[in-house]
Symmetry: C2
Subunit: 212 residues, 2 copies
C-alpha cells in the first residue's frame, strides 16, 4: 500500500490524491487504510519516508576516478529521481499541505544531511571549516532549486543541467577558495587530481576563453 501511495503522491500533488483513490489502487478497503494510517498525512509521511531513503541512496558513489565524473553520475541519478517523482517533489519542496509537519521537514533535512556527508567524504574532509560547510550546503540547495525550476516546464534538457550543476560546484568552491587560504589548501589536492579532459578542466578552458 505504501508503494501504491508513493506512486500516486509522486505523479500528482498530494493535495489531489484521496484516501479512497489509494484504497482503490491498492485493492483494499477504505477502513483498512484507516486501520493502518489514521489520516492522509500519516500515509503521506510513510510514503515520503520510503522516497527519502530512495533519494538518499542515490548519493552513494564509489570513491574511484575523478571527482567531476563522480559528481556527474550522482547528478544523473538525482535527476532520475526528480524526473520520476516530479509533482510530488515539487509539492514537497515548494510547500504543500503536509509541509511544516515536523516529520516531513525532518525527512527532507535528513536527505540533505546525507548528501552533505557524502560530498565531504569525496572531498576527503572530516572536520569541515565553516566556509566549506557553507559552500557545500548552499550548493545542495542550488541543486534542489535547479531541479524545481527544471520541473516547471522542462524547457532545458536535463543532461545539460546535470553537467551545469557539476560546473556550478566547481565554480562556487573556486569563488570561496579564491578568497580563503584554508579552503584553497584543503581543495588543492582534490582538484589537482582532475584530468585534463574532465568536466572541471573543460569549464576552466571555456571560462578563460570567455574572459578574454
Amino acid at each position: 500500500m505504501i508503494g501504491v501511495a508513493l506512486d500516486l503522491f509522486a505523479q500528482r500533488s498530494p493535495d489531489e490524491v484521496s484516501i479512497d483513490e489509494i484504497a482503490a489502487a491498492a485493492g483494499i478497503s477504505r477502513p483498512l487504510v484507516y486501520h493502518y494510517f489514521p489520516g492522509k498525512l500519516s500515509l503521506y509521511e510513510a510514503a515520503l519516508k520510503r522516497a527519502s531513503e530512495d533519494l538518499a541512496s542515490r548519493f552513494t558513489e564509489p570513491h574511484e576516478g575523478p571527482l567531476g565524473s563522480r559528481l556527474l553520475r550522482v547528478m544523473n541519478r538525482f535527476f532520475d529521481f526528480v524526473d520520476a517523482h516530479g509533482p510530488g517533489f515539487s509539492a514537497l519542496m515548494r510547500g504543500g499541505p503536509a509541509v511544516g509537519s515536523s516529520t516531513t521537514n525532518a525527512l527532507v533535512d535528513s536527505v540533505r544531511q546525507i548528501a552533505y556527508e557524502q560530498i565531504l567524504s569525496h572531498l576527503g574532509v572530516t572536520d569541515p571549516p565553516p566556509r566549506l560547510e557553507l559552500v557545500v550546503r548552499s550548493w545542495i540547495s542550488l541543486a534542489e532549486s535547479t531541479a524545481l525550476i527544471w520541473l516547471d516546464g522542462r524547457r532545458i534538457p536535463r543532461e545539460e543541467l546535470e553537467r551545469q550543476l557539476v560546473h556550478d560546484f566547481a565554480a562556487l568552491t573556486a569563488v570561496s577558495a579564491a578568497y580563503d587560504d584554508e579552503l584553497r589548501t584543503l581543495l588543492r589536492p582534490v582538484l589537482g587530481g582532475e584530468p585534463a579532459d574532465g568536466p572541471f578542466a573543460d569549464l576552466a578552458t571555456r571560462l578563460i576563453a570567455l574572459a578574454s
Copy 2:
C-alpha cells in the same frame, strides 16, 4: 499592533509567540486582538505581509554605476534585513507552523519574483531565455540558503558573504554563458561595462591565479 507582532515574530520563532504576549506588548486586550485577527495565523500573515514589503523594497537599486557594485549594495541591504529578522526569517524559510499556508507561500514567492524582475531590469533584459531565468532564479535561492546558513551560528562575517554572493552571481552566469551562445551574447555588453577595480574583475584575477 502589526508592528509589535512583527517585532516579536522577528525576534523569536512564531511558534513561541503567544497572542497574550502580543496583546501585552501592544498594550491592548486579548479580545481586541481577536476582534481584528481571528487567530495567530492571521496576525502572523499580516505581520509577514509588512515584512515582505520591507524586504522587497530593498531590491530597488538605481541603474547607475557598475553592476557588481549595485548587486553588492543590494546584498548589504538584504543581510541588514536578515540580521534584523533572524529567527522569523529562519522559521519562515525552514518551515514553521504557518508555512504551507497558501498566503505565506504566496508572500515569499512574490518577494522572489520582485528580486528576479529587479535583476533582469539591471541586466537590461525584458524577455529572458530559459537559461537566464534559471540562473537568476537559482542564484536567488542560493542567496536565501546562504543567509539561512549564516544565521545558524553566524560563524562567517556577513560582509564576506555579501561579497561572496556577488561573486557567486558572476560565477554562475559565467558557467551558463560558457556553454550557451545566446547567454554569452546577452551578457557580454553588461559585463563589458565592469571596471578593472570592481568585484567581478577582482574575482577573475583571483580565479586565474588559482587555476595556475
